[in-house]
């Protein structure tokens, strides 16, 4: 079943909703503005009654897969359960109705919350200070790189290159380029880890930073991270930690101890704020003392039990967005941290690693594994050994047909027909077993009925959509037909 667009359900004769009348002498726009400043035709927004509107969006919701329904095996996305109490916390009137420009003495609770969250996140990753401003992981990356850029400039040191492994998330090179850096790719060794000889050849006095994910995107720990840190620091460059994979390490080890100078976190991954169909997230970025002067302003300062915004930061890179960050997401993350505590967060990472290794062992023999075990919180398999030309894409669509979401596919780029799986700590053994069964059935079908598999999914609102045609002749909005 598909659902018409809201615009297609609109009826021109329907009156608008009941809203407050002015109750003061009415002023018509034409009385106060020149004709040229006025809108000539109203926007063609849909006209729907509230019952129709609610049914429309309920039907749309029913067409979505979600973590509240079932398992997302998406690698590097950390799709864990979103605690429902977090939503209650963020919607408390004392948070939701705060205006960002209220006097500081009326927002002490909000500032204290930001302070507490900063301290807690610093403890998890081993950094000294943190900015909660960035709205997402990529925004945090850009913010971190801007601070590194400012740090070098402050020392009169012109550095133009950022090193990024070929296995990195696409946001890493994109953030570096957006910061005006030349991106230099570092090759991976056959085991998926950074190739030290290749790194050595690319590090020099032009290197501003290297961006690393640890565990890396094939799910293995960079065992030589301390050697890498020494090499990078020896040429005066900084080590940047992409926190997308932090869920493997809480309470086990800390990026700050590995030698990382800047760390960004994804609160919408590790700290359970919901993905919301693609945001809002939050991407706090932490630094060691040396980079603290460059943090975006304002930061929160605590003085004699009183909190205030510190705006006077002469070396700050300035603000990176309006106001103070995605505050509602910060409330959710702190609620989660309070409930979990240090013991709970540590157990969460252990369980995430356990779940990934368990699922990997169950899938062994069904799919090919380029890297030996153990993995950390995620692993990468390859679908290239599937028979009859069945691809990772077919495996993905087959999983949708069987009530699961698909793993991340065709990433990282260094593994052909990559199938990247991250089960997280909030999926039960029974769910992981059921997922294994679904993969096993697909592998059997790849042998016996490959054409049937290529037709899947058949039980969802639509089958495989022609994405090539959609991109060639893009239709990006509804338009009224010429006849209307």
């Amino acid at each position: 079943m598909t659902e018409p667009l809201a615009f297609e359900k609109s009826r021109a004769s329907l009156p608008g909703p009941r809203l407050p009348a002015a109750g003061v002498p009415e002023v018509a726009p034409a009385d106060i503005l020149p004709a040229g400043a006025l809108r000539s035709t109203p926007p063609r927004l849909p006209r729907l009654s509230e019952p129709e509107l609610m049914r429309h969006y309920s039907r749309l919701g029913a067409m979505n897969y979600s973590i509240s329904k079932n398992f997302y095996p998406l690698g590097s996305c950390t799709m864990k359960y979103n605690p429902v109490v977090n939503e209650v916390a963020a919607s408390l009137p004392g948070f939701a109705w705060l205006h960002p420009y209220q006097p500081e003495d009326t927002v002490q609770g909000a500032l204290e919350l930001m302070w507490d969250l900063e301290q807690a996140l610093c403890a998890v990753v081993g950094m000294d200070r943190m900015s909660l401003q960035p709205a997402a992981g990529a925004h945090g990356e850009w913010t971190g790189l801007r601070m590194i850029q400012a740090y070098h400039e402050d020392r009169g040191d012109e550095r133009t290159e950022v090193l990024v492994p070929d296995s990195a998330h696409g946001t890493n090179p994109a953030s570096a380029a957006l910061c005006g850096f030349r991106v230099v790719e570092v090759k991976s060794a056959p085991d998926g880890r950074v190739s030290l000889p290749d790194l050595e050849g690319k590090l020099n006095e032009r290197t501003a930073a290297i961006m690393l994910t640890n565990p890396n995107t094939v799910g293995t720990f960079e065992e030589e991270i301390l050697e890498i840190a020494e090499m990078v620091h020896a040429v005066g460059a900084k080590l940047y930690y992409d926190g997308a994979n932090l869920n493997a390490l809480m309470g086990i080890c800390r990026p700050g101890d590995m030698g990382f100078d800047v760390v960004h976190l994804n609160l919408h991954k590790t700290f359970t704020t919901p993905h919301g169909g693609g945001g809002p997230g939050a991407g706090p970025v932490g630094v060691k003392h040396e980079l603290e002067p460059f943090l975006p302003r304002p930061t929160v300062r605590k003085e004699n039990g009183h909190y205030r915004f510190d705006q006077e930061r002469p070396k700050s890179i300035g603000r990176v967005r309006s106001f103070y960050g995605n505050f509602g997401m910060l409330v959710r993350a702190l609620t989660y941290i309070l409930a979990m505590g240090g013991d709970g967060l540590s157990q969460a990472s252990l369980d995430a690693v356990l779940a990934a290794n368990y699922l990997r062992s169950r899938l062994d023999g069904l799919l090919e594994f380029p890297q030996p075990p153990p993995c950390k919180h995620e692993f990468v398999a390859s679908a290239r050994s599937l028979p009859n030309g069945i691809k990772a894409l077919d495996l993905a669509k087959g999983l949708l047909e069987r009530g699961f979401y698909a793993p991340t596919i065709y990433f990282p780029l260094i593994v052909p027909e990559a199938v990247m799986v991250e089960p997280t700590e909030t999926e039960s053994k029974a769910t992981l077993d059921a997922f294994t069964e679904a993969v096993a059935e697909i592998v059997r079908l790849a042998q016996s009925e490959p054409d049937r598999l290529r037709e899947e999914p058949t039980s969802l609102p639509v089958g495989r959509l022609d994405e090539v045609a959609a991109a060639r002749n893009p239709v990006l909005r509804w338009s009224p037909r010429a006849a209307d």
Binding site: E3, G16, A22, V27, P29, L33, L38, R39, P43, L53, H56, Y57, S58, G61, M63, N64, S68, K80, P83, A89, L92, F95, A96, H99, V107, L113, V124, A135, A136, G137, A138, R146, L178, C179, G180, V183, F221, L226, I252, C253, P280, R321, F327, L334, G341, A348, V353, N357, S361, K397, E425, T426, S428, P457, L460, P461, V462, G463, L465, R477
Partner: protein, 442 residues
Amino acid sequence: MPYLVHSPEDRSEMLAAIGVESMEALLSDIPARLRIQGLDLPAGLSEAEAMGRIRALAARNRTFEDRLTFRGGGVYRRFIPAAVAAVTSKGEFYTAYTPYQPEASQGWLQAIFEFQTMIAELTGMDVANASLYDGATAVAEAAMMAVVQTGRDKVLVAGYLHPEYEETLRGFAKGRKFHVLHHPSSAGVVDPGSIEKELHEGIAAVIFQQPNFLGLVEDAAALTAAAHTHGALAIACVDPISLAVLAAPGEYGADIAVGEGQQLGLAPSFGGPHVGFMACRTELVRRLPGRLVGQAFDHRDRRGYVLTLQAREQHIRREKATSNICTNHALCALAATVYLAYMGPDGLRSVAGTSLSRAHHLSERLAALPGFSPAFPRASFLSEFPLRVDQPEALLSRLSERGILGGLDAGRWFPELAGVLLFCCTELNDPGALDELVEACS
């Protein structure tokens, strides 16, 4: 422990299935000197205790009643229909991932397609993207589009752009190595004649806010025409509610329209999360940052929606992408979509009209009081306006004692506006609230 699913027996069984004795075997690749023994954080709390802590923090904040909030400056208290939260709090929406697998994500994709259409309609532009973080980053992204499109390395900010948007823009410009010039306005709004003199062939874009940060209505058509005369793009940063009344950027020929969508069904929430939007002419669509949803068909010719033109994006193009943005603000965009579907064209017009009537009524009454005068009497405004006030600090604390969040002190950012307060009115500031404010100011 909350949210963890395994029993001790499950863990033992899973370790046995893996074929290892203990968890340590799975962590053997982490150098011993990096290992820590747990986190330096308090032990976990029950939900009741955790919420007790969170409620205590919330209680240390003071919230002003919506009817007595006269402060805006980019974030406004407006009526939010119950339908908005009823939709956005559905697990099928808020716990879903980015819709990369379209067959299992049609609800989200269609909702975003509707959002794109509504933003395009509001702004009068051809196309809109699936959302950005906020108004500030939307301005910065638009400037970068213009720099790439024109091959020029300067942008000109005309007049009173939100100071935090301009600061954000300057940060992006430093990274991307382009320059931000500022054209001041002494009369509250920009004199289009004066800006002509500053325009030259090196300018990629003229950026203006409509209404501007002070709430005053710029001559958007003249600013756009001036930009075009010199081959620059015109970037309009617009207030979405105002577009029920004011000419749409598409009507006066702007190239890119951006803005902050908080007023479309989102709580102030101490400044976020809100939602940035961006719309442009068709010719610029391949330079748009972020996600785009397009129509597609399956082999049975059923209509559906997919993420499209992904060759612009970081996960495909890496360092050559139009932007680094990945996660955006989809759930906030959904709130805006439900809000706009609820309002329809008449509802939006009513909201804008009521705000406008009340703001003009309030402005007249306040300006009649001793010690109050319009800061820019010749400029037009809609629902936010600058007043020059004797002793603004004393006034604001007097209002606060009466439970009123008074106007925003513009002198905080602009020295020439010392003593100027920006007051705003929305459909929530009822006539009685206006009386209370006027009385408290008297």
